[in-house]
Symmetry: C2
Subunit: 343 residues, 2 copies
DNA sequence: TTGTATGCGTTATCAA
DNA sequence: TTGATAACGCATACAA
């Protein structure tokens, strides 16, 4: 059922102004190619009629949309939101509009969203992480839609990406943790299937253990979805096991904050009884009590750089160069030395 | 510069399959109007070619996009993100796609985004709050694009909305606070210009004061932008003034958490020295320490109901009915009785 | 500076 | 069940 009244078109404006549609079009797109008098006249009529160009028609005729799509796992927490906000702001400066879609960490939905954004005429796409069905990359190829991977920088990867080295970042943190005497380590991780970032973080910790003479197989590993509640549950399980770890890494700050809450409820002191380490450094991390030791990810910088790279590519064809940004360890209050009095 | 290889079109598929474009179109949109043999054949070719329909062309021909736009102040914190996620999930169930845009709380950007989404062919719009330039409502009217207001339910408003009564919710909370003996109240608010929700919350507290025999003019009022840092700064100013309040309301949880952090830094005990009250009940609120007393807003329910109303309106023309949801007071740890030993 | 005419990729109407 | 063909609203090459 269509309730639409007649929406004014270029044609209507042209008729009302007594000029051709081409002239009206030019008034909008190349104002200086039009005499001032007619331009003023046309603009007035445009305002009177409340005319606004039809995007679909415009896209079809111009074969470009000035739109860049971003597909992220979730908008529900700040992990991606901040980078995205920066991405959008920068894009706007370059005359592009951002379209967002979220996938709930589900590969099928991601594929659906990618197709949807491509069909909508996105000139390019921002993607999180490298790992996805090769079929998708092939699809993008045949559609001629460039895709930029962010949130990860994997040395030796085929596809250029703008991000940080997840493995190296957590390796560095794990090394510090081990230096503090921790030998019983655990990791509460996002599901690693189709998530190269989660995998890299897992491997990074194991690498650090190996290099420090610890057995990587001793790392207690729990995979879970990404909520505060999930972090709390996983942490509880860990604390009730008979091989209770003294340091718990969390795949992100949201999980870490859940763990922290659980510790408080269980009257387990952090960091005296157990250390908790997050990842991302979102607002939650500084607000949590005790304030969370975590890995700072340069979200905004990542979004900004990605926007610039994509905008230049679409506008000028400038090839996209991979950029490695540095993650930074942030030591706050949830990491302390390992207790010596425990068995 | 266009790097696009030739993207397969309906025409290409038709040629390859040896049928007309009409038949291919039917295979996609009305599969049962097509014989099984040709359908299978066509589908195969579609897959081979990696064909995907052009959204703009489709929208133009079908005069519908199955797209609903949502325009929110910001994605940076969880205030709107959660409701939006629910909105999107429900929309998806009804076969619609969501387009988001954010305004950074700026009316001009909001107007720009509204026009952009309308031009993109959004079948309907989700808006936050009632208050905006009447010109915009007129524009939507002439474009025939229905808009649903959420995050607010204002009795007697012209436009139907799905939300809660901001004034009543905070009135209820303020009444409880006053019952605890607080007489020196303050409010750290979002900027109230063009923000009916912020205004309503301001008025709600003043109403409660009046009804309790307090002078509403004694409410200390600070307007600020919406960040943790802003909350901290405003709180510090309040604490350093000579009419130091014993209870500080915050326009949202983000500001409240900033206030909380500032209190910790200033060694001011919450709630012994000062009570802090938030609004929204986002994740931050339960994670903060002490856990934040706040007003719980039914974000997800709001998003879901809005999606259903809009989907039914666009599909069946079902008129949109206003829905009032209930906000709920959540008493945690940051609210306590007023100290008697202070001057 | 302005106008004419054509194409963009679909859907939908009408015949066959 | 299928095929021509006319919209849909705009940009643009070309002509005036």
């Amino acid at each position: 059922m269509s309730l639409k009244p007649h929406t004014p078109t270029l044609h209507d404006v042209a008729a009302a102004a007594g000029v051709s549609t081409a002239t009206v079009s030019r008034c909008l797109n190349f104002p200086d190619q039009v005499s001032e008098s007619t331009r003023i006249n046309v603009i007035c009529i445009i305002n009177d009629l409340g005319y606004s160009p039809n995007f679909g028609a415009k896209a079809m005729a111009a074969r470009r949309t000035n739109t860049i799509g971003a597909i992220i796992p979730t908008m529900e927490n700040a992990i991606f939101a901040r980078g995205l906000q920066a991405f959008q702001e920068e894009l706007r400066l370059h005359g592009f509009t951002m379209l967002v879609a979220s996938t709930s960490y589900c590969p099928n939905i991601e594929e659906e969203q990618i197709r949807s954004l491509v069909a909508r005429g996105a000139d390019a796409l921002l993607l999180i992480g490298h790992e996805r069905d090769p079929e998708i990359y092939r699809f993008l190829q045949t559609q001629g839609v460039p895709a930029l991977v962010t949130w990860a920088f994997t040395p030796g990867s085929v596809r250029p990406s703008i991000g940080f080295n997840n493995r190296a970042a957590i390796y560095e943190m794990a090394t510090e943790v081990i230096k503090l005497g921790h030998t019983k380590l655990a990791l509460i991780s996002a599901e690693t299937a189709m998530n190269d970032r989660a995998k890299a973080r897992h491997v990074g910790i194991q690498n650090a253990m190996t290099d420090a003479g610890l057995k990587p197989s001793s790392l207690q590993f729990i995979e879970t979805t990404y909520n505060i509640e999930d972090g709390a549950n996983a942490f509880e399980k860990l604390m009730k096991s008979d091989t209770r770890p003294t340091a718990v890494f969390c795949g992100n700050d949201v999980l870490a904050v859940g763990a922290l809450r659980c510790a408080r409820e269980m009257k387990i002191s952090v960091p005296d009884d157990v250390s908790i380490i997050g990842f991302d450094d979102i607002e939650l991390a500084q607000v949590a009590y005790p304030a969370l030791t975590t890995v700072h990810v340069p979200h905004r910088e990542m979004g900004r750089r990605a926007a610039i790279a994509l905008a230049n590519y679409v506008k000028e064809g400038t090839p996209i160069k991979a950029v490695e940004l540095k993650a930074r360890l942030v030591f706050r209050e949830t990491l302390g030395p390992a207790r010596k009095d425990l068995p």
